[in-house]
Symmetry: C2
Subunit: 359 residues, 2 copies
């Protein structure tokens, strides 16, 4: 019940331990095709260029930036937590120029600031923001932010690592051009893979690049030759076969439950947790309008020792919760209710354990 990896259901663990077959085996290629369709479903997109990157969400982030940012490109990055800062690192390591708008940790990205920044510098061609900030438990208004970006002819990159499967994500409706997620949050899958998707407009930028993508491993032109092609698949790297079995299973489970039902469940469990915490006098960092149901960032009560409570939870109750990051270290806990960890049983066990420890 930390900020991820979330607990992985036995069904997904079992899928991940099926016998390893070859990455060019016809049966595996069929599974790849199904995975692409399932990721399109999870992202709510028809984007052709949709598939899993064979590495964690951080590599998914890097895939979006190295493919779309060329040296000298101006990128507006919205910072309201750790992952916005990481985006700036990515822009700069691509030789891009990062311009930032900043909101306090615990607050959402302000679309008006984005509007002002894009008006002030018409050379900005890319807008990047984090939909669900795992460091603070904040949900930003992705639809509004993306709309501002598109009104200024930007390519829009959205981090949906913690969002997908937990809150509504609509890449196509919101006109997001590139997004990356992670397996280890609300998909409750084995950590280590990052689903990504690129719009037709992003593909156009990719194919009009003046120089090669700086990463060979993350070059979407090369990856696509393996993940697509009626004319046969050409080897790029050995796919992480078993991790993809598990991803396939987790996406099937999401499809079985339904996106709306999964989101509703996350909200219901958030309410249950909130009510339990209220009785302990524990409140939330984030305003109700911008909370993530799947990541509850709550104030540590006065006089309670952060680390010792987390250690007791882990050792005596087998429950992991997350520490605060950056300026929030020692002030908040991050309680995850992600994917299949978002159950009444988990919420009640956590509340009971906290009650025993704190009271």
């Amino acid at each position: 019940m930390g900020p991820g990896p979330s607990d992985v259901p036995q069904r997904i663990l079992n899928a991940g331990s099926r016998p390893t077959i070859g990455h060019l085996d016809p049966k595996f290629i069929q599974l790849m095709d199904e995975i692409k369709l399932l990721i399109q479903f999870a992202f709510q997109t028809q984007n052709r260029l949709t598939m899993p990157i064979s590495a964690p969400g951080s590599a998914g982030m890097e895939a979006c930036f190295v493919n779309l940012v060329e040296p000298g490109d101006k990128v507006l990055v919205c910072i309201n937590g750790v992952f916005g800062m990481r985006m700036v690192e990515n822009v700069e390591r691509c030789g891009g120029i990062a311009i930032t708008v900043n909101d306090d940790w615990g607050k959402p990205v302000d679309p008006q600031k984005v509007e002002d920044a894009l008006k002030a510098d018409p050379e900005i061609g890319i807008l990047a923001f984090v939909h669900a900030e795992t460091s603070t438990g904040v949900r930003s208004d992705a639809a509004s932010i993306a709309a501002v970006g598109k009104a200024h002819d930007c390519l829009v990159i959205a981090d949906t690592v913690t969002a997908v499967g937990g809150i509504e994500v609509h890449l196509d409706k919101w006109r997001i051009d590139a997004s990356y997620s992670g397996t280890q949050k609300c998909l409750s899958c084995l950590p280590g893979i990052s689903p990504v998707s690129f719009s037709a407009e992003a593909e156009a930028k990719l194919s009009s690049r003046k120089q090669k993508v700086q990463s060979w491993f993350l070059d979407m032109n090369l990856i696509m030759a393996y993940w697509e092609g009626d004319a046969g698949r050409s080897y790029h790297h050995t796919a992480p076969i078993n991790a993809l079995y598990a991803l396939h299973e987790s996406l099937i489970m999401l499809q079985e439950e339904g996106l709306q039902a999964a989101c509703d469940r996350h909200w219901a469990m958030h309410e249950r947790l909130k009510n339990g915490l209220r009785k302990l006098g524990i409140g939330f960092l984030v305003d109700p309008d911008y909370r993530l149901p799947q990541l509850n960032v709550v104030f540590i009560p006065d006089g309670v020792d952060d680390a010792s409570v987390r250690n007791q939870l882990l050792q005596d109750y087998d429950i992991e919760i997350g520490a605060g990051l950056g300026g929030l270290a020692g002030k908040v806990w991050r309680i995850g209710l992600m994917g299949h960890s978002a159950t009444e049983e988990n919420v009640d066990t956590c509340i009971n354990a906290l009650t025993n420890i704190i009271s």
Copy 2:
């Protein structure tokens, strides 16, 4: 029995499906420490900077190049197959200048050519070569090549993806400064992770860089803060927990068997395969002195159709063997005897199946 992924033993599949715990859980950090020691053992090195990259061997290759090559650096790359060519791509995408020595596909790297090239251009500071070329089944003389590089004050990068666990690898004795391997070859582990190791000299280059490593995800300075540190581990990315359970188990199994015993077994199975193939009139591409026992590249007999035999093996006998790459396509098969796939039963099944199909 292709060029990888090799067959994964049930024991390793089981390890990979243990319950997922947190990447900062004290029990997981203990496992990480054991993994580092086990990789040091597999590479035969005392290098401090030794750990698994959370992505496949191709990313391990990229980790070596992006960390050690800065724009303008001259790198001598030895090409005798697909993976030498990929190294050139890596050098160039780092802004480095690749100088190449070329040997025919099916031949080993010629240390004399390396010597001549390094003499001709004293500005070359890095030498890169592939120890075990998976595209051709050739073993190059890593000890001699590295010695030439060190005599010319080069940092030496060696691809040991297919080598580790199958043939002798001695990073320290051979004075190799950076190496990457893969889990999916002779470790018989789940595909998707790349053990890497950097010498003290490589670390010195890394810490004297003039600019940041172009990849945030593969920046060893940042990765090390998670994999090391008596002062606590700082979060970089979410580790692929289950894939690392599996890697740990596969390395334990290698340690139980012993490196020499594992190498001996690969040679014995190669002999058995060779004798069986001889009766079918099938010979080897590579001279006996430079063969890889774990990857047998053999000529397709006259009048035998490449694809239809491979399809029959897969469909009727559940055996995968690899096709030839590049100029060898249609001319050779690549029969893997990697890790726990290198058994008498597998060799005999393969020979019997080929006999049935071809005769």
